[in-house]
Each structure stands twice: as structure tokens, then as C-alpha cells.
């Protein structure tokens, strides 16, 4: 025991604490004192207690008067050194103004671009996440097996919601709302005042389960009555001035489903701007069932079903359980179900063959990459310029090392310099963001405002990371030199570092060139979508919808239109032509062969439709009132004729099932139904004379006047509605909305990337020219011409850019090739896209460097060499 005690020491961590905090000059004495007392304690108490008492003593010793100070010669931290570093950094900025400005402009534009993209990405990610039960709220989707493929649909039978709650213990609650095709959009009238109302049929628990906040009314009851509606606060204020007075008021609502009186039972806050579903009226789903009994039937898919799952439900297990649930309920086994998190649907909304393949998330990723790359380009500028100027800093490093600075301290110094620069740039970039945000919102189609409160931590991280990344290489590079070598003036060779610098410039320019290739291809593709012959003429066509109830006879309206001299032709149809979502199966076209499973594109068009939009008839005739084609005959496109392998299509009768047949009266040339994202598919056009969407072909030149007269005619027949007409051409452009926005954003981002790269190159060229002034002077004296000098100076940079081109073009090729996969009809990649990209990079680089070298080449050699 006695021997053992010799080895019992005080607690380690406590000892360390003491040594870390106590002032050096006091340490020996005080530690000795406490050790001595510890020995005493050991004699009096158990080891455990002695240690506890020791800890207590140590803690009591840690008083401000005995611990290291924050400033002064004996320090607890490096505050003083940080101060010194910052001072040196600021002096450096002042002395090398050009470099500082280049770095500042580069980093701040880079940060501003990154910030904007960050705001945009964050906004995209926030869509639909406002629901309180977001993590448990799932959208029940349907996979539909058809045409040897699987189509994923957002809608499901109206009975599904309740059945899920009954049959699956995992489902806590479920909501059904009518799907997109059954949205009552029309006019809500109070007295003589008419307002646009976009409604949603929803089950009674709608406000209870989803987080659309109800301002007035009982969330459990507002939808229990078929004759009552809940309106948004915005609409309430528009109609009645304030929300309170709207309760209990009776309004008339007319749309294609009904023209009925409703009592307002509640008011809800308009869906937030990051909600993918925007509506201003909600009414009972029971009303839809009253209108169409299939809305509450297993064989109708009128609803969208959202389920709240119980906590700790394994979603994969649940998906397996529900997959074949519909087989037992419907008369087909083509449907399988799966659940997708509701808020995920916005970003991950694209499916191919039943498998989730992407969606908006692709753009989010694309722009995240772009942001990172732009920031990297800006950081590279800083790295290059600071290492290039190493020789100017070497003396400082040498002296510091000689008087005892070690590497970590020097690394810290250079890092604090770059972090300081990043912080200054950050403030500049905030200014830039504020400046361009309105413009950015127009391009991106968002309503983003700059709110930094919630993002302080990520932004702090971003700025620090940028600073550290930019400063990392110079810091490690500059702190490495041996003091003796530096101070003796033997800095050895800096050749190796030049390679790194060149490499970094190659990276910058490669990225820029990839951006240029991308921009060329995106813009060409958009141009292509706009200029491609679609098989019909979309120019000078206005389109509008009658939001009234039922399907009134359109002939009186056509008669009115006919009287207007500026109207060349007019027609009507059902649905939305450009969204290309009218489909129909159950057709069989061969005698005795019941092949009815193929899903055809199948728009329902009125008389004169083919003539109005100028489709070409290749065989037979168009639909005509003379033949009374309504609901009796069909017209195919060429693809359908080929698909059905019909030799003589005209006159062939096609069975619709249930004993009904339709006769083919004509064949039209293939045309693009919808956007170029979709392939031209076999199509069977049906004839319906009661469509409520109108196409009117105008005589070019007098559009404004003609439109006014059309509106008059429309008003005469539909007194409550306002005419909301748009040009087919614009609607068509709208189909490529995402692409247009991507193009707009990437144009700007590419510009920024190129500018930042050039800034870096500019700085480097300036530096090289400066370092070689003596060489230039001697060369000139020996007879070199200006041109020769310029060639010598630019050669290196041109070589770098050439390497970048060689590296970037293949990568760029792969990137744009995969982007074009999104289109069924895409441009061919031309060799000259890449030549332009490369040549423009080369040209820009040459101009940048050329400016500097010209300056260097024109100096008078006598002036340079005089100082020697």
C-alpha cells in the first residue's frame, strides 16, 4: 500500500485545466502548492475524496487575477495576433489595390450569384412543406399499366381515402380532393359584382388534416354541408370588404359543373405562396358526387388522396401492403398504388415506367452545381493572385519565422486575410443581391425577398468556408518556406507553383467553356421549340374559355363571331389542346379482335377545328355540320393509321365497345399535340360540337380591334363572365416555361462565370507583365518589336486556355447531350456549337491578356532599365 501511494497522482484533466488556464509565471508555485495539499489530503482521506478536493481547489484557483489574460504578453488566446493579422491584411489590401479590387469584385459577384441561387433553391425546397404533418403526409399515387408501359398518375378513386383509413391501421387520417380535371373554375357573384373563383372539392376533414389555416369557421364543420362554401380571406375582402361580414352571405357561383347558390360558411387564409396548390374556394366533395356519381366509385379516378400515416410507419412496408389494394376493389388489375411524401411531389414529380426519375429537383441540382462552380472560380482567382504575389510576401514570412512564428500561426495569418476578404465581399454581395433581386424574381418567376434572419448560420458557414477555401492553398504554400533560404534571397524555384496556378486557370476556363456550351445549346433548343413546324399554324389564334355551366349550343356565338370582319375562322373543342392530356382506350379496329387496351391520344374537337388551326388533311374529309358528324365519326392521324395497320382507313369502322362504332372519315398529317417533350403518338380525334374552349383565327393587322369586338360578342352571350383571352402562340411558349427560366438564369450565370474568370486572368497577366518588365526592356533594346513582345507574353495564357478547351468540350458534350434527352424532339448537336464556345473563350482570354501585354510592350525600355 505504501508503495502504491507514491504513484497516486492528482486527476489528469484537472491538472491540464490548471496548466492551460493559469498564467505561466504562477504555474510552478501554485501547482506545487496544490500538489502539496493533495498529498496531505491523501494522508487524511480516501483517494477518491482527495481527488475530489483537489478538483475543488483547482476550480477555486481559476480566478481572473490568476488566469491568463485575453490581451497582453501572456495570453489565453490569439486575439492579439488576430488583430495584428487583420492589420497586415488591411495594409496589404491598400498597397495592392488592383489585386484587392479583382479579388473583391470576383468574390462578391461569386458570393452574390451563390446567394441568389441559394435563395432560389431554398424556396424550391420549401414548397408544400408548410403542412404541420408534413413528414407524415403522403400522396397516394397510382401506377397504371398501359401500352407496355407504366404511367404514374396523381389521381385515384374517390372511395380510396375512407377505405384506407378503414383497412390499414397505419393510416391515421385521409383526405380526398377532386383531381385537377374536376376543378370548378368560374365566376362567383354577389349581387352585380362578379369575381373569379378557382375551387376545390374536398372532403369534410380537409381543413382539419391539411394546414390551410381557417380564419373563421369550425374546421370540422365548414364543409359538412353541400350548399356551403369556404372562401379565401383575399376573396372575402374583395367581395365584402372584410372576412367577418362574408359569413352567412349567399353567393351565386357559376362554372362548368353548376350554377347554384351557396352560403359562405368559413374563411381561410389564402394558401401560402410556396403552396403548389392554389385555390380560393373550397366546397364539399359530396357536391361533386351529386354531379357525377363516378366521383364516389372504385372505377372512377376523380380524386386525389392524401393520407396521414401514424408515426413510425415504415413507408416501404406500407407501400408493399397497399400496392395491390385496388385489385380487390376495381374490375381491372392494371392499377398499383404507392405513397409519396406530399411535399416531395413538387420536386420529385417525374416518373418513367413507374419509377421516380427526377422532376424539378434536376434544376435545383443543376443550379446548386453552378453556384458551387462560380464560387470555386472566384476562389481560384484569390488563390492564383496571392500565390503569384508570393515573392512580395516572402520577406514577411521569413522575418516572422526567424523570430519564432511557427507554421500554424502563419497559416492562420493567411487564412484570416482571406476570411476578412470573404467577409468584406459578403457585405458587398448583399448589396448586389438587393440590387438585382427584382430582376432575378422576374427571370426565375418567383417572389423571393431577402431575409437573412433564418439563414445566419448557413451564410456564416458559406462565408467562412469560402474564405478558408480561397485561402487554403496560399496559406499552406507561403508558410512552407525555410526562413534562412528566404532571408538569404535564395527562394529556389517557384516553377512548381506555376504549374498549380496554370492548372487552376485551366479549371476556371474549363468550367466557363462548359457553361458557354450549355448556354448555346439551351438557347438553340428553345429557339427550335419555337420555330419547329408543329403540323398546324399557331399564329394569330386567340383562345379563351367559357366558364359557364353545362354545354350550351355554341352556334349563336359562332354567328356573332362571323359578323366580325377581323375573324377569319373559329372553332371550339373540349379540354386544353396544349396540355395534350385527352386520352381514350377501349378502341378495337380489327374484326373479331378485342384489342382495346391501347391508350390513344384523343382530343374532342368541334367543327372547323382542323381548318381554324390549319392542319393538313391527307385523306378523306374534315368534320362538317353537313354530315352531322357530332359523336358519330372520327379522324385519325397518320401515326394511328400506321399503328392500326389500316390499308384503306377511310370508311373503316372502329368499335368503341358496348356495341358502339365510329367511322373514320379522314386522316390528318401528323402534328405535335402538346409540347416537344412528348412524341407524336397515334391519335383518334372525336367530334364534339359542344366544346367550351375556343380558338379564333384573326386576320393579321387588326388584332386589338377584333379582340374588343370578340369580347363584346362574348359578353352579350355570357353576361357574367369576363373574357380572358390569350394567344395560342404565347400559351405554346409557356409550355417551355421551365426551360425558358433555366435558359434565362444560366445566361446570366455564365456571364458571371466568364467575367470572374477573366478578372483572374487579367490579374495574372498584369502580374506576369510586371515581373517580366526587365526582360521586356532588354528584349526591346535588342530589337524585339512590339508584336514579338506581345506574342511572347500571351503565348503562355493562350496555351492554358487551349488546354481548358480540350478538357471542357467533351465534358460539355456529355452535359448537353443528357439535357437534350428531356425532349422527344431535340436539336442535333452541331460541331460549330463547340467551336463557338472554344473560340469565344479564346477570344475573351486574348482580349483580357492582350490589354495588359499591350501596355507592357509599349513602355520605353530606357525607363524600365534606368533604375538598375
Amino acid at each position: 500500500m505504501e508503495d502504491q501511494r507514491q504513484h497516486i497522482g492528482p486527476p489528469r484533466w484537472s491538472q491540464r485545466l490548471l496548466r492551460f488556464f493559469l498564467r505561466k509565471e504562477y504555474l510552478e508555485e501554485i501547482e506545487g502548492d496544490i500538489d502539496e495539499i493533495f498529498e496531505d489530503y491523501l494522508e487524511q482521506h480516501s483517494v477518491k475524496k482527495a481527488r475530489r478536493l483537489y478538483n475543488k481547489e483547482v476550480l477555486k484557483v481559476l480566478k481572473p487575477s490568476l488566469t491568463k489574460r485575453l490581451i497582453g504578453t501572456q495570453k489565453l488566446n490569439y486575439l492579439g495576433m488576430l488583430q495584428h493579422n487583420l492589420l497586415i491584411a488591411i495594409r496589404g489590401f491598400r498597397r495592392h489595390k488592383t489585386t484587392f479590387l479583382i479579388n473583391l469584385i470576383g468574390l462578391s459577384t461569386g458570393l452574390a450569384a451563390a446567394l441568389l441561387i441559394f435563395l432560389w433553391v431554398d424556396d424550391e425546397r420549401s414548397v408544400d412543406t408548410f403542412h404541420e404533418k408534413d413528414d407524415r403526409l403522403y400522396w397516394i399515387m397510382t401506377n397504371f399499366a398501359i401500352n407496355d408501359d407504366i404511367q404514374t398518375r396523381e389521381y385515384s378513386p374517390g372511395k380510396l381515402a375512407q377505405a384506407l383509413v378503414n383497412d390499414f391501421p397505419e393510416v391515421e387520417d385521409a383526405v380526398r380532393v377532386a383531381n385537377n380535371y374536376f376543378r370548378p373554375k368560374g365566376t362567383m357573384s354577389f349581387g352585380d359584382h362578379h369575381f373569379k373563383a378557382s375551387g376545390l372539392f374536398a372532403s369534410t376533414n380537409f381543413f382539419d388534416v391539411l394546414s390551410y389555416e381557417l380564419v373563421l369557421g369550425n374546421p370540422k364543420k365548414v364543409l359538412s354541408d353541400k350548399t356551403s362554401v369556404v372562401i379565401s380571406e383575399e376573396l372575402a375582402i374583395k367581395m365584402f370588404g372584410d372576412s367577418e361580414s362574408s359569413i352567412g352571405k349567399t353567393v351565386v357561383w357559376e362554372n362548368r359543373f353548376f350554377d347554384t347558390e351557396y352560403v359562405i360558411s368559413g374563411v381561410f387564409k389564402s394558401p401560402p405562396k410556396n403552396a403548389s396548390n392554389q385555390f380560393n374556394v373550397v366546397l364539399s366533395y359530396q357536391k361533386l358526387i351529386e354531379i357525377n356519381k363516378w366521383a364516389d366509385h372504385w372505377n372512377g379516378a376523380f380524386a386525389e388522396t392524401y393520407a396521414v400515416l401514424k408515426e413510425e410507419t415504415d413507408i416501404n412496408e406500407f407501400n408493399q401492403k397497399i400496392a395491390n389494394y385496388l385489385n380487390t376493389k376495381t374490375d381491372t388489375d392494371r392499377f398499383t398504388l404507392f405513397a409519396q411524401q406530399y411535399s416531395k411531389n413538387y420536386l420529385y414529380g417525374k416518373y418513367e415506367g413507374g419509377i421516380q426519375t427526377g422532376g424539378r429537383i434536376e434544376n435545383v441540382r443543376l443550379f446548386t452545381f453552378i453556384a458551387v462552380f462560380i464560387l470555386a472560380i472566384a476562389c481560384i482567382n484569390f488563390m492564383n493572385l496571392s500565390t503569384a504575389q508570393a515573392s512580395k510576401k516572402l520577406k514577411e514570412v521569413g522575418v516572422k519565422k526567424a523570430i519564432g512564428a511557427n507554421r500554424p500561426i502563419l497559416i492562420l495569418q493567411f487564412l484570416s486575410e482571406s476570411i476578412l476578404l470573404a467577409i468584406i465581399s459578403f457585405f458587398v454581395s448583399i448589396g448586389l443581391v438587393v440590387l438585382v433581386l427584382p430582376q432575378f424574381n422576374t427571370i426565375s418567376g418567383k417572389v423571393i425577398d431577402l431575409q437573412l434572419n433564418g439563414y445566419l448560420l448557413p451564410i456564416l458557414l458559406l462565408v467562412t468556408f469560402t474564405g478558408i477555401f480561397a485561402g487554403s492553398y496560399p496559406a499552406f504554400y507561403l508558410s512552407r518556406f525555410k526562413p534562412v533560404a528566404i532571408l538569404k534571397g535564395r527562394i529556389g524555384n517557384l516553377r512548381g507553383e506555376e504549374w498549380v496556378r496554370k492548372g487552376l486557370v485551366v479549371v476556371q476556363f474549363s468550367l466557363s467553356i462548359i457553361f458557354i456550351v450549355g448556354v448555346i445549346v439551351i438557347n438553340r433548343q428553345i429557339e427550335y421549340t419555337q420555330s419547329k413546324e408543329l403540323g398546324y399554324d399557331r399564329s394569330d389564334i386567340v383562345t379563351f374559355r367559357d366558364h359557364g355551366k353545362g354545354y350550351p349550343n355554341p352556334v349563336p356565338f359562332f354567328n356573332e363571331l362571323e359578323k366580325i370582319p377581323g375573324v377569319l375562322n373559329a372553332s371550339n373543342f373540349i379540354g386544353d389542346f396544349l396540355s395534350a392530356d385527352e386520352t381514350q382506350n377501349n378502341f378495337s379496329w380489327k374484326e373479331g379482335q378485342e384489342d382495346d387496351s391501347y391508350l390513344f391520344m384523343s382530343p374532342m374537337i368541334g367543327y372547323d377545328f382542323i381548318e381554324t388551326i390549319g392542319m393538313e388533311i391527307v385523306a378523306g374529309r374534315s368534320f362538317s355540320r353537313e354530315y352531322n358528324d357530332n359523336n358519330r365519326t372520327i379522324i385519325l392521324n397518320e401515326s394511328a393509321v400506321r399503328f392500326m395497320e389500316l390499308e384503306n382507313p377511310i370508311g373503316t369502322k372502329i368499335s368503341l365497345g358496348r356495341g358502339q362504332t365510329r367511322e373514320i372519315v379522314g386522316v390528318v398529317k401528323d402534328f405535335h399535340y402538346g409540347s416537344l417533350h412528348q412524341k407524336i403518338e397515334p391519335m383518334i380525334m372525336r367530334c364534339r360540337d359542344r366544346g367550351k374552349q375556343y380558338f379564333v383565327k384573326l386576320r393579321p393587322g387588326s388584332e386589338v380591334e377584333t379582340l374588343a369586338r370578340i369580347e363584346e360578342a362574348f359578353k352579350r352571350i355570357n353576361s357574367k363572365q369576363n373574357l380572358e383571352a390569350s394567344f395560342l402562340q404565347d400559351d405554346y411558349t409557356e409550355l417551355y416555361d421551365t426551360e425558358n427560366r433555366v435558359a434565362g438564369l444560366s445566361n446570366y450565370m455564365t456571364g458571371i462565370a466568364i467575367i470572374i474568370s477573366c478578372l483572374g486572368l487579367f490579374g495574372l497577366a498584369a502580374f506576369t507583365a510586371e515581373r517580366r518588365t526587365k526582360e521586356i526592356g532588354i528584349r526591346k533594346i535588342l530589337g524585339a518589336s512590339r508584336l514579338t513582345i506581345m506574342r511572347i507574353l500571351t503565348r503562355m495564357f493562350m496555351r492554358i486556355v487551349l488546354v481548358a478547351i480540350v478538357l471542357a468540350l467533351p465534358i460539355g458534350y456529355f452535359v448537353v447531350e443528357s439535357w437534350l434527352q428531356n425532349f422527344a424532339y431535340a436539336i442535333e448537336l452541331q460541331w460549330w456549337f463547340f467551336v463557338i464556345a472554344g473560340a469565344s473563350a479564346l477570344l475573351v482570354a486574348w482580349l483580357t491578356v492582350g490589354f495588359q501585354t499591350f501596355k507592357a510592350a509599349t513602355v520605353n525600355p530606357a525607363q524600365i532599365l534606368r533604375n538598375e
Binding site: E29, E31, D33, I34, D35, E36, E39, E57, K60
Partner: protein, 108 residues
């Protein structure tokens, strides 16, 4: 009184230093005072008082010998400066004058 102040606890420590003479180092001062005051003191309180007084010029110090019990670390022996003696004396005078001036109520 623009003179450097001497706190009550500081005064006690200072007097202990004078009493202990050559033995006046941290632990010994602590032991001595603990015995006289009959309460436990921490190294921290003694040390901060010592350092403060050294700064104010009441004490000087030098390293003494190292013992095994101290883990080979040297003691620091404190001694009072003439200035400290003078201040102690002054304070004692002030106190005895005050005692003398006090009416004879406390003893009753």
C-alpha cells in the same frame, strides 16, 4: 485616502506572512490562517490575495527549495516590504485610536 487599499483578508494574509518569516509560502500561510481563523480556505483565495498584494507593492517573493511532496516544484517564499510594515502599523494605530475613542458600551 488615495493610498493603495488593503482589504481585510489581505491584511490577515499579510500579517501571516510576517509571522511565518522564512516559512511564508502558499501552503504554510493557508495552514496557519486556517488554524487561527478556524475555517477552511482555498489555495485560490490565498494565492489571489498574495498576487494582488505583490502587485501593490506589499510583498516581494523569491523561489525557495523544491520538495518531493510538491512534485519537484519550487515554493515561492513571500516577505513583507518596509512599506507593508508601515501600512500595517498605520492601520493598527488607526484601529487603537478608534478603540480608545469608542464609548464603553460594547463591554457591558
Amino acid at each position: 485616502m488615495k493610498k493603495t487599499k488593503l482589504g481585510e483578508f489581505e491584511e490577515l494574509v499579510l500579517m501571516t506572512v510576517v509571522v511565518l518569516q522564512e516559512e511564508a509560502y502558499g501552503v504554510e500561510i493557508k495552514r496557519e490562517l486556517e488554524e487561527r481563523l478556524n475555517e477552511t480556505l482555498s489555495v485560490g483565495s490565498i494565492q489571489s490575495a498574495l498576487k494582488r498584494m505583490e502587485e501593490k507593492g506589499f510583498l516581494t517573493s523569491e523561489f525557495g527549495e523544491a520538495t518531493q511532496k510538491r512534485g519537484g516544484k519550487r515554493k515561492r517564499i513571500y516577505s513583507a516590504t518596509p512599506y507593508a510594515h508601515r501600512v500595517l502599523k498605520e492601520m493598527k494605530d488607526v484601529r487603537s485610536q478608534l478603540w480608545a475613542a469608542m464609548p464603553n458600551v460594547a463591554t457591558s
